[in-house]
Amino acid sequence: MKKFRNEYTKETLILPIILIIIWYIVCDVFQLIPSFMFPGPTDVANSFVRLAVSGKLFKDVFDTLYKVLFGMLLASVVGITFGIILGWSKRLETLCKLVISILRPIPPIAWIPFSIIWFGIGIGPAVFIIFMGCVFPILISTIDGVHRTDPVLIEAAESFGASNSQMLTEVIVPSSLPYIVSGLKVAIGIALMCTISGEMIGSSSGIGYMILTSTSLFDTGSTVVGMLVIGIIGIIFDYIFTKIQERIFW
């Protein structure tokens, strides 16, 4: 099977370094852009040190990660469970098909108004929006994984006398696992996006909240710190899931 590689080498560092140098020259050396429009690297570094020393950054990162993982966990439990059931039963899949097809394209942030009405302010709305954003990719890839189970493997297990439940646990689930993990990998990206949107509206904590509030205080340095932190969290998750995929793609 195909190998997943996302190795970062010295070459991958060249462009970021060039960009930072240009950025430094434009914003800090010649001050072509006022810092309330866009901060220079020095502003960003200062903001980073201030946020890191005060502990606010770690609190916000922790807060955001907590919501992401909580929302993902709920979405995984629901998405994988129903994915296996619907993948297994053609009849139930047909029954649910239209509902899923209509709900799926609704952008998760469209759920923001209801999430606030139902869950108020706090982690509730963000978790709900993450759930709505992640559950469909996980559901669809799980259904796909079940469908792609090699019929020869199912027949082999049948010829050993596997019961329906054994078929599920010993054949269907392990064989769908690579597809489920691919779904989770897609979902974690969506989860990050949803969290930030959710935090900008129905929340009083997290990186999204920090990004929004610092701009209104003209602290654009903190805004960029927040944005970069999200990017870095994204890379880390991507790396983790790629490692998992390497292990389970046989």
Partner: protein
Amino acid sequence: MTFEVENVSKTFVSGDSDEEVIALKDINLTIETGEFVSFVGPSGCGKTTTLRIIEGFEKPTEGTVKDDGELVTGPSNQRGFIFQNYSLFPWLNVIDNVIFGLNINGKPEKESKKRAMEYLKTVGLEDFAERYPSELSGGMKQRVAIIRSLINDSKSLLMDETFSALDIQTKHKLQNQILKICKEQKKTIIFVTHDIDEAVYLSDRIVVFSRRPGMVKKIFEIKMDHPRDRQCQEFEDLVSEVIEMIGEVEED
């Protein structure tokens, strides 16, 4: 008496044209316990379909199959089935693949693994117990698939072109192993193959199928003692006789 195939017919409806294709017509066969029977015939003659119906993977359109007097309604662990290719579970290593059937049937794992190692030794794969199927060659995978079925002590083994992808040395070695096991354990074996030499070497009877619709054209009985000498006149005559019969079938 192990298998009774009575008046089995199978009709497929081909997808795009709604045309009915008669794959099998009035197959009648009785296969005794401990017998080694090969199905041969031109491609598309329904020999594999017959094998799959006997296992219970497919239902006949008409007729019945009985295994020891019991009607076959679906696959069973009493009938081991060895596929042509690629039937190992890719997420399990070799030894876990071999004990899959034993695990499913609730046998204690420690004992199963010990037995699995003995079986792996017989096919020279004891050093590969911890490897995954993706790390094995085609011939090695097939040897694992064969012992995975053998270890379950099913009363019969149904083999669908099981040796066709193997090199000739491995093939001959496994043929002898299968024969030995079949005779020692009185297993009934039904063997679908394209290789007439193989069919004559192994079988007590060879069933020749005709094409479209698949019917039993002729049954050869082979009384030669094992191990059979591939070079002797009788063997060679039989091989050409069977090939001729298939050729005739093909011309019809």
